[in-house]
């Protein structure tokens, strides 16, 4: 609008502008009359300001520019700048499809959405620095190779450890690569989790997916304890469960990926699982762990404990000089699997005594 300038200041400019406007309006009206015979309003009386609306013709506002007037004027200017259509579009985008605000129109083949990740980075950083105060050691041991398979211990029902480990590598490793965590099957059936995890780069844990990712030279995080690890009771924390499928060894050996054992201390206290009733699992279809807070406090029980974390990377295991026929040898595979498991357990034993309590 042309009247964004407050009418109180600059008398001559105002009158010039008014005269111009008046002339153009008169010309337009004349043309309308001539061409279409439209004469809806009487032609303006010379020098009458009333045609142009009350804004310009409000002499009272000019004489006493009080505090309220100033606010009102500024507000009006703001409102006039506002594009109603744009606002409506933005609102509709955000409201109509929950969770789809600020997503990009492209995802990679496993559903990673760069824009979503960028938006999530803020709170991932906050979780990393303030909620869990993660201390990372041994990041220099992570090789700058094309294919790296991180193998870590897991606990806690939701894959916070996967998110933090991926975040730690991305923040601290010189390559800046973000490994993609393989998450448990049952999260795929859990509403709300799968879509968000997939947008942040997580992939369902299965041999086909891991192979495809490694072949595309992506870094991958595996948690071979699987569901047994995620649901282990509190009293068994930091005791590595049997590596459920263990398909990661032949896979890494075949694709010549380096295995990096990782110990995550602190993540196993997030949800102290008292027990996990079988009957309830059968009734609901997904495991329902009982923690001191979970069914009791409802959704509040999902808030993880702000324990202090330590992430420790171990010496990588290479498969470059392994003969191809040994890759399928079950004895060799089993030995290597136990070697990785032992390495993680040793790292855990080293890190655990270093903290004074679970919060420091």
């Amino acid at each position: 609008m042309s009247d964004a300038k407050p009418p109180a200041e600059g008398g001559p400019i105002r009158s010039e502008a008014l005269a111009e406007l008046r002339a153009s309006v008169r010309a337009l009206r004349g043309e309308l009359e001539q061409r279409f015979g439209i004469r809806d309003t009487p032609p303006p009386a010379p020098d009458s300001v009333d045609d142009f609306g009350p804004e310009l013709a409000a002499p009272a506002a000019q004489t006493s520019p009080g505090w309220f007037e100033g606010i009102g004027r500024r507000l009006r200017a703001r409102l006039e700048d506002l594009d109603v259509v744009k606002l409506y579009e933005a609102l509709r985008e955000r409201v109509s499809i929950p969770g789809a605000a600020d997503v990009s129109a492209e995802v990679d083949e496993f559903g990673l959405d760069e824009r979503y990740l960028l938006r999530a980075r803020g709170w991932l950083d906050w979780l990393f620095e303030y909620w869990w105060r993660v201390q990372v050691s041994g990041i220099e041991l992570v090789p700058d190779a094309d294919r790296v398979l991180f193998v870590a211990n897991t606990a806690g029902i939701l894959p916070w450890d996967a998110l933090m480990l991926a975040h730690a590598v991305e923040r601290l490793h010189p390559s800046g690569r973000r490994p993609r965590p393989l998450v448990a099957d049952w999260l795929a059936t859990l509403p709300f989790s799968q879509s968000r995890l997939a947008r942040m780069g997580a992939v369902r844990a299965c041999a086909e997916n891991a192979e495809r990712l490694l072949l595309a030279d992506q870094w991958v995080i595996a948690f071979p304890e699987g569901q047994k690890g995620a649901l282990k009771p509190f009293r068994e924390r930091y005791r590595l469960q049997r590596f459920a499928r263990g398909g990661f060894v032949p896979l890494a050996a075949r694709l010549r990926a380096a295995i990096v054992p990782v110990a995550i201390v602190g993540a196993e206290e997030l949800y102290p699982i008292l027990f996990e009733p079988r009957l309830l699992r059968r009734l609901v279809g997904v495991p329902v762990p009982i923690t001191p807070t979970f069914p009791l406090l409802g959704p509040l029980g999902i808030i993880p404990l702000p324990s202090q974390w330590r992430i420790r990377f171990g010496e990588p295991i290479w498969f470059d000089d392994v003969a191809p026929e040994r890759v399928t040898d079950p004895l060799y595979v089993n030995r290597t699997r136990e070697q990785v498991r032992g390495a993680i357990q040793a790292l855990l034993e080293e890190e655990l005594p270093r903290r004074r309590s679970i919060f420091s």
Binding site: R92, E93, I97, G99, V103, V107, A188, S195, R199, N209
Partner: protein, 332 residues
């Protein structure tokens, strides 16, 4: 039409038989074959002939559900000296008449397979569906052709299709001289293709399942027809997954289309629409709605390498072509 076609030969092409010429695929492929120069003789088998093909193809009225359909088809194939058979006599959408559907899809396919074996046919192309893999929470992100076929138990038409795939595999093992190709397209969309899937996405407000946002793939109808034509031209035995490039989450697709979603909790939706779905498709709602919950994305590498499949439309473009066409037609 497409530049990717093999160079044209001068000698007359061997006749092509199409069963189910009344379907979208059958009719369009018949037209495409007639556009080639010189056009091969097209032998059409169905209950009825689309009007625009009248007088241009050699039509035989055959009911594949008849008990002696195999010898009738074999006789026709022999008489017309057909070398290639395109078997497209399948329902586009699940038919609520379970028995007739089974008779046509499984027994009818068996008749066509046996007739092909008996009459010296060289190549059999069957239009299957990638839905035979079924949507499952434990699917890998990309299903390859070697993955087990696990159609949902509740989806009768997909169980039938999987049975046909099994028949084809046995048949291919027995008759090694024959080229047996089965094409498994993911959801086909496009300006003119009509199916339960396209109808599901037509309205301005699409029902989705609360808390689930699966990755989806689409195949444009022209890419589908190109693939069928390629399979008829080249000798590529085996099964082939077909899909456009790229995957997109359902929420992103809806946002691109300017549609809004109506997320409903799936236990509620499954129960509320149970009777309606049974009446319309013969299956409980899970047969279709599970695709909006679980992973079901196919890997098309094999079709690219062995069939020469090279889709023009990506998943996003195919989806947008559906959306734009429906908008012009007055849906929102």
């Amino acid at each position: 039409m497409s530049a990717r076609r093999a160079p044209r030969s001068v000698e007359p092409r061997p006749p092509v038989a199409i069963t189910g010429v009344g379907t979208f695929t059958g009719a369009h492929i018949a037209e495409r074959l007639l556009e080639q120069s010189p056009p091969p003789r097209v032998v059409a088998l169905d209950l009825r002939l689309p009007r625009r093909l009248e007088g241009r193809v050699r039509f035989h009225r055959v009911d594949l559900t008849e008990p002696t359909a195999d010898s009738i088809v074999a006789e026709i194939l022999e008489k017309e000296r057909c070398e290639t058979v395109l078997h497209a006599a399948f329902f586009t959408d699940p038919c609520p008449d379970l028995e007739y559907s089974h008779e046509l899809e499984v027994v009818g396919s068996l008749h066509v397979i046996n007739a092909s074996a008996a009459s010296g046919v060289r190549k059999l192309v069957v239009t299957s569906s990638a839905q035979v893999y079924g949507p499952h929470p434990d699917n890998p992100n990309f299903l390859s052709e070697d993955h087990a076929l696990r159609p949902q138990r509740s989806a009768h038409s997909l169980r039938d299709r999987a049975e046909v795939e099994g028949l084809l595999r046995i048949f291919a093992q027995r008759h090694r001289a024959l080229v047996v190709t089965s094409l498994r397209p993911c959801w086909i969309v496009g300006p003119s293709y009509e199916s339960a899937i396209t109808r599901r996405f037509e309205s301005a407000r699409v029902v989705t399942l609360l808390g689930y946002d699966p990755l989806l793939q689409f195949l444009h109808e022209l890419d589908w027809l190109d693939a069928v034509e390629l399979a008829l031209e080249r000798d590529a035995p085996g099964a082939f997954n077909l899909a456009g490039d790229g995957v997109l989450p359902l929420s992103t697709l809806l946002r691109l289309a300017g549609k809004s979603s109506l997320p409903l909790p799936h236990p509620l939706l499954y129960r509320a629409t149970y009777l309606e779905a049974i009446a319309r498709t013969g299956d409980p709602p899970a047969a279709l709605l599970d695709y909006l919950r679980f992973l079901w994305v196919v890997d098309t590498r094999r079709a690219r390498e062995e069939l020469g499949f090279d889709p023009i439309y990506t998943t996003k473009e195919a989806w947008m072509s559906l959306v734009v066409a429906r908008k012009l037609r007055g849906y929102r």
